[in-house]
Symmetry: C2
Subunit: 185 residues, 2 copies
Amino acid sequence: MIRSDAVRNRMRVLQAAEEVLDEQGLSARMDEIARRAGVGVGTLYRHFATKEALYQAIVMARIDLLLDEAARLRSTGDPQTAFFAFFSKIVADAKRKKALTDALHSAGTDIKAEQSSRHAAMLDAIAGLLRNAQNAGAVRSDVAMPEVLALLRGASMAAETGDYSAPVLQRSLAILYDGLRVVSA
Amino acid sequence: MIRSDAVRNRMRVLQAAEEVLDEQGLSARMDEIARRAGVGVGTLYRHFATKEALYQAIVMARIDLLLDEAARLRSTGDPQTAFFAFFSKIVADAKRKKALTDALHSAGTDIKAEQSSRHAAMLDAIAGLLRNAQNAGAVRSDVAMPEVLALLRGASMAAETGDYSAPVLQRSLAILYDGLRVVSA
DNA sequence: CTTCAACCGGAATCACGATTCCGATTCTAT
DNA sequence: ATAGAATCGGAATCGTGATTCCGGTTGAAG
C-alpha cells in the first residue's frame, strides 16, 4: 500500500518544483523547492533521485501539453494559421516557463529514452504543421525544418531572458513570420 | 618601473583568457586559463581581481572591434547592406566567440561604468545603421530598435549554442532579413 | 654584485549547492 | 491500541571551482 502522505508530498513537490523552475530556470536550488513544497530535502530526493530527474519530469509534462495543443491546432484551426499559432505558443511558453527551451531543442547531449521520444514527437508535430502550412501556401516552400528550429530556438531563448516586453516580442515574431511567408524579396 | 615579466604575463593571460572564454564561455575555469597561459592562478588573479573582471576586459575589447566595424560599414558600404552586414557580423561573432551575447545586450543587471558606455555606443551604432537603412528604403520603416535588439539577441543566442550549421544559420538570417524588408504581408 | 620590492606558483581555503544519512515520525494493517 | 515498514526532516557530507595566502624567485636600481 502506498502511504497517503507520500502521495500528497509527491504532488506538493511536483507543484513547487514547477513553480520554482518556471521562475528561476535550471539554476533554482533544491532547498528552495523543498521549502516551497513544505517538505525536507530528503523527501524531495526520495521522490526524485536527482535534480535532473525532477527537471525532466516537469519538462516532459509541459511538452505533453504542447503536443496536445499541436494536435488540436492541426485538426481545429486552418493550416494557414496553425503553424504560426503553434510557433507563438512555444515562444510564449518559454517566456513564462523558463528552462524549457534547451530541453525542447537540445541537439547533442545526453538524452534519455522517454525524453528522446517526446523530442521526436515534438519534431514530428512541428514538421506536420509546417508541411500543411506550406501546402496551403501560407509558408514559403523553400524553408525546411532546420531553419525553422533554429529560428524557434532563437525566439524562445530571447523570450526566456525576460528582457523584452510582450509587445516587443509580438512585433519581433510578426517580422519573423513575414519572413517565413514572403516569396519575393 | 613595471617589471618586464609582469607585462609579458599580463599579455599571455589576456590571450589565453580570450581563447578559453571564446571556446567555453563563462563556464570556463580559471585553472584552465592559467594553465593555458603558462602561469599560476595567483598571477592571473594579480592581473585581474576576479573572473568577472577578466571577462569584462575581453568582452569590451571585442565590442570595440565591433564598433570599429560598424563605423567602417557606415562609411564604406552602402546603407542598403550595411545594416544587414553588421547584424550578421554580430551573430557570426557570437557563434565563434561564446559568451559575448549576454554582455552585449543585458538589460538590467549590474553594469559598470565603462561597460555601460560601450553598451550605449553599441546601441547608437546599431540605431544609426538601422536609420540609414530605413531612409534608403532597405528596411521597413515600421520596425524600431526594441524589436531589432530582440531579434538580434535571439539570433546570437541560437548561434551561440553551436547546434546549427553555418548554412542553416545563414538561411535563418535570410528569412529574418526578408521579414525586415517586406512592406506588405 | 647586492638589495629588496614586486612578482611568481600553486597549495590551502572558502563558498555554495547537490546529495547522502540516519534517528524521529507517521501511516496502514492487524 | 500496537507493531513495524515506509516516509520524514534537515544536519552533515561531498564536489567543484573561485579566491586567498605566503614562502620562494627575479628584475631593476645603485
